[in-house]
């Protein structure tokens, strides 16, 4: 026991700043290393270790590479807070920038550019410039990273940095390509003129670039292509584009002859084709981000007849982790609204498993609903029946919504769906019943003609159901179609007048609404009842309800003061109302570029770069021409 205590206190005392300082000043590397490890441990835990700065910075020139590395870690974390002291380390880095070992040069540049001390901006600028012509591509890669760091430290340097970017864009190393395009996207994404001459090289290097760089380059090239090529879609609707590799290399003579036959033939720019051809193999990447990047490129750039090739790969990603599934399903949801055909063959891949997390289930359901058509609806409805019974009630409710959407979109099954939903009204679970009521209400609105029976059924439900939305929906239905259920409606008003004070605000509003409608159509039976309800409403605690009461009374009860509107009260309350549209929440989400954070959030994230519309006339393709001698040399 005693031993333990001693040991523990010994460890604790070594963590004291004073002791750590002593260890850092010791002459032995092992003590220093030990101290640095402890300090890094503190940083990792989020503890403040800034007071050790003077003692740590002295070790920046240590011969021991691990100590040095850990000092770098420390500097990157605290230099910003201790700018003056941080300057002490600069000369060490400047020396290291000239080291014969490329790893040391690169890491010196990394730290120098990471310490975020404004005073050293000129030194950083110089270091970046020099590193950008270093013989080692690894150092040049680090230079590309440093560009962004300097830019965020001092945006004034933009022009100079663009010069470096321009230079590095010409670099032929696959190691540099991804990093410099990243810098381009952060610093000067609008300078597409810098891309022209490098476009073909980037397309050709793409397969050999590391995976992270591939994602960045593909996104950039998608934006580029939308400014430089004409739309391949215009012809899609009437003429099926007949594409084959040879088409583009046909002689001019043949082309002219064709032009005479077809009014206006669309010919894809060979550079546009190059991009599509060179990105396609990347659909086979093991990296989900790369596959998604290619998929969005095909979505935004390929002729519609070709975009289908990405479906299979996207469906493959659904086998991945739940987070990957989540993002991929969101993107498929957006795609499947506009181009059902792309995913119809994979319908069953979106079937829900009881072990899926709820968010995955609802997204799959969304896609299944988007894919529903006359041919597959009966299979789908059978599948939905299983989902409605799910123990996950939130998901069951979502399924009911989905059935409602299928019912409005596919008229053949409207009745079947409606009957199914009515059956659910006798379900034991209140969430299920409530959701069914809400959906039935929306469906009845689209075709109220022959559904008196269902309305009666729902009126009976009112005695038991407690969910406010559902109660409100039933009351609205009865009020709206009170002339179809002339015997029941007044009785419902009677019952709810009794429970008025205990109802939710949402329900109260609908009771008032029901009263007003009955007053206008059947004042003989309901005049007194309505006035009673209006009196209750007048003294309600919620001013929303008091407001509504005052408004309704003025409108329906004629008196001298009531204005010209009273005459039209019936027309106002019982006007034909447009049926609600049951739409996917993913509709129109594709105004955001697919695969982006903004698409996932459905709102513009900072730094989102808009995808431009296709130009009507393509800008001069010759800007991408590179001198022949040069292009030959990088082919070999």
């Amino acid at each position: 026991m005693n031993h333990w205590f001693k040991l523990n206190s010994a460890v604790a005392s070594r963590l004291q700043p004073a002791n750590l300082k002593q260890m850092l000043e010791s002459s032995k590397d092992s003590a220093k290393l030990d101290a640095m490890k402890r300090i890094v441990g503190m940083i990792a835990k989020g503890k403040n270790a800034s007071e050790l700065f003077p003692a740590v910075v002295k070790n920046v020139a240590s011969k021991n590479i691990e100590i040095k590395k850990l000092v770098y870690v420390y500097l990157m974390r605290y230099a910003e807070e201790q700018q003056d002291l941080a300057l002490l380390s600069i000369s060490t880095f400047q020396r290291a920038l000239k080291d014969p070992n490329q790893l040391i040069r690169a890491s010196a540049l990394r730290v120098l550019s990471s310490i975020r001390v404004p005073i050293i901006v000129p030194i950083m600028m110089l270091a970046i410039k020099e590193a950008s012509s270093d013989l080692s591509p690894y150092v040049r890669k680090n230079a590309a990273h440093a560009i962004q760091k300097l830019y965020s430290l001092d945006p004034e340097q933009k022009e100079m940095l663009i010069e470096v970017i321009e230079k590095l864009l010409k670099d032929r190393s696959t190691l540099v390509a991804g990093s410099v395009v990243m810098a381009f996207e952060e610093v000067c994404p609008d300078r597409i003129d810098l891309i022209h001459k490098n476009y073909r090289k980037l397309c050709n290097l793409l397969v050999d670039v590391e995976e992270w760089g591939q994602v960045v380059i593909i996104h950039m090239l998608t934006r580029y292509a939308r400014t430089q090529f004409v739309s391949p879609w215009k012809t899609d609707d009437d003429v099926v584009e007949e594409y084959n590799e040879n088409n583009f290399y046909e002689s001019d003579g043949e082309q002219k002859e064709k032009d005479r036959n077809v009014k206006k033939t669309y010919t894809m720019d060979p550079d546009h084709r190059l991009l599509l051809r060179n990105t396609k193999p990347l659909l086979q990447s093991r990296n989900a981000a790369v596959v998604m990047a290619v998929a969005q490129l095909y979505w935004h750039l390929a002729p519609k007849s070709e975009a289908g090739i990405v479906s299979k790969s996207l469906v493959r990603l659904l086998r991945s982790n739940r987070e990957v599934q989540y993002i991929v399903l969101q993107n498929i949801a957006t795609m499947s609204i506009q181009r059902k055909g792309m995913f119809e063959p994979y319908l069953k891949s979106f079937y829900v498993r009881s072990t899926d997390p709820t968010m995955i289930k609802t997204l799959k359901l969304e896609i299944l609903t988007n894919l529903a058509n006359e041919a597959n609806i009966s299979t789908l409805l059978r599948e939905f029946q299983t989902y409605v019974k799910s123990q996950d009630k939130q998901f069951a409710a979502a399924t009911i919504q989905a059935i409602g959407r299928c019912a409005t979109n596919i008229t053949e099954v409207t009745d079947t769906c409606l009957n199914g939903l009515v059956c659910l009204l006798s379900n034991r679970d209140e969430t299920v019943v409530a959701e069914s009521v809400v959906v039935i209400k929306k469906l009845l609105q689209t075709q109220p003609a022959h559904h008196g029976e269902i309305i009666k059924h729902m009126a009976k439900l009112l005695d038991n159901i407690t969910v406010p939305v559902a109660r409100a929906s039933i009351l609205w239905l009865i009020g709206e179609y009170c002339e179809r259920v002339p015997k029941i409606a007044p009785d419902v008003l009677r019952k709810t007048a009794k429970s008025f004070t205990n109802e939710d605000d949402l329900v109260k509003l609908q009771i008032l609404n029901l009263g007003a409608k009955l007053y206008l159509t059947n004042s003989k039976q309901t005049k007194l009842l309505t006035q009673y309800v209006l009196n209750l409403g007048k003294y309600d605690q919620s001013y929303d309800i008091r407001d509504r009461t005052r408004f309704i009374r003025q409108l329906i009860v004629p008196n001298e003061k009531s204005g010209a509107l009273s005459k039209y009260a019936k027309k106002i309350f019982l006007a034909q109302k447009p049926a609600p549209l049951l739409e996917s929440p993913f509709k129109d989400r594709d105004h955001f570029q697919l695969g982006t954070l903004s698409h996932t959030l459905n709102s513009r994230a900072t730094g989102y770069l808009e995808l431009s519309d296709w130009p009507d006339v393509a800008p001069d393709p010759a800007v991408r021409n590179v001198e022949v001698a040069e292009s030959v040399c990088w082919h070999h």
Binding site: N64, H145, Q284, E323, V324, K389, T596, L597
Partner: protein, 418 residues
Amino acid sequence: MIHSLFLINASGDIFLEKHWKSAVSRSVCDYFFEAQERASEAENVPPVIPTPHHCLLSVYRHKIFFVAVIQSEVPPLFVIEFLHRVVDTFQDYFGVCSEVMIKDNVVVVYEVLEEMLDNGFPLATESNILKELIKPPTILRTVVNTITGSTNVGDQLPTGQLSVVPWRRTGVKYTNNEAYFDVIEEIDAIIDKSGSTITAEIQGVIDACVKLTGMPDLTLSFMNPRLLDDVSFHPCVRFKRWESERILSFIPPDGNFRLLSYHVSAQNLVAIPVYVKHNISFRDSSSLGRFEITVGPKQTMGKTIEGVMVTSQMPKGVLNMSLTPSQGTHIFDPVTKLLSWDVGKINPQKLPSLKGSMNLQAGTSKPDENPTINLQFKIQQLAISGLKVNRLDMYGEKYKPFKGIKYMTKAGKFQVRT
């Protein structure tokens, strides 16, 4: 891109933080905790959480949330895929990825993270390269380091970083040269009440363990490559060769890696190797329910089914179950309502069964849905799709390596609705 990373354990403690740009206060995680509270289970925490100034992207693995802080537009999959790569790397370095392991090796973790990202952009993510930059801790090395004062940090740039094969380290030497390939297929299926298949597909992977000296160049060919409908490769595979000849040609990374993932085309009917006979009934007004399941072999190509495990999430109304298995052991957790039955091997002469009764909460009505049964199983020496490796050849080196290929079929997401 990635601003900061926070590691959060199951009880909601932030046990590691790392910043690649200016430090972001850990109070940003409050938004994450809020979302965590709203989600009933860890699985339901949304992977993307917007906050007023940042966006939190997270992955959940090994009971740890890896939360990345993002400040501006970035493809979300980019971050998510990267976070998964971080977890894979930790697993590769320490054998397991757990809170204790990460805390014990915090310095190595920090050094690795430092190399993986620069200014929030991935720098080195190939494990072969990372291991040259920062050596993984081993007991022997720890001892040697404390005595000699040498370090875990390499001082030369890994040559792979610069070469055309960035995934392979150089100077690899083995006394025994071996290359093992495991063809592992998983069956994903949903079987309906009556035993007919609603959907079934086969997904496969080829995992390799290659320990070969020098720079070997391998080719692997199949007897029936047409079976492979959709494939994704490790970056080492030469895509053109596959396109033209359906041959996998590659210079492998050193050690363990996934060479290929594939999907077997949907046109081929999937053989379902097991069936489940079930009789689960609840009655209204009775507090007893009946439960009976039997598992049996179906299309197994004469192989034994082993490692069978049956799990099922029972409805909330089930208080307890008294069951007798004909073999294996079973557990019912009355809190989570999870029933699991470790069956073991299936003997076709004597089919395993689990029978008994369920105690239901008195007064509640019977559940709408019978529970779904999840099945796990393994079949050795069989690739259910029929995929067969034809040959494996090595070029570029003189020695004769030992080669081995193993097949296995497993249940993936295999569900039986009852």
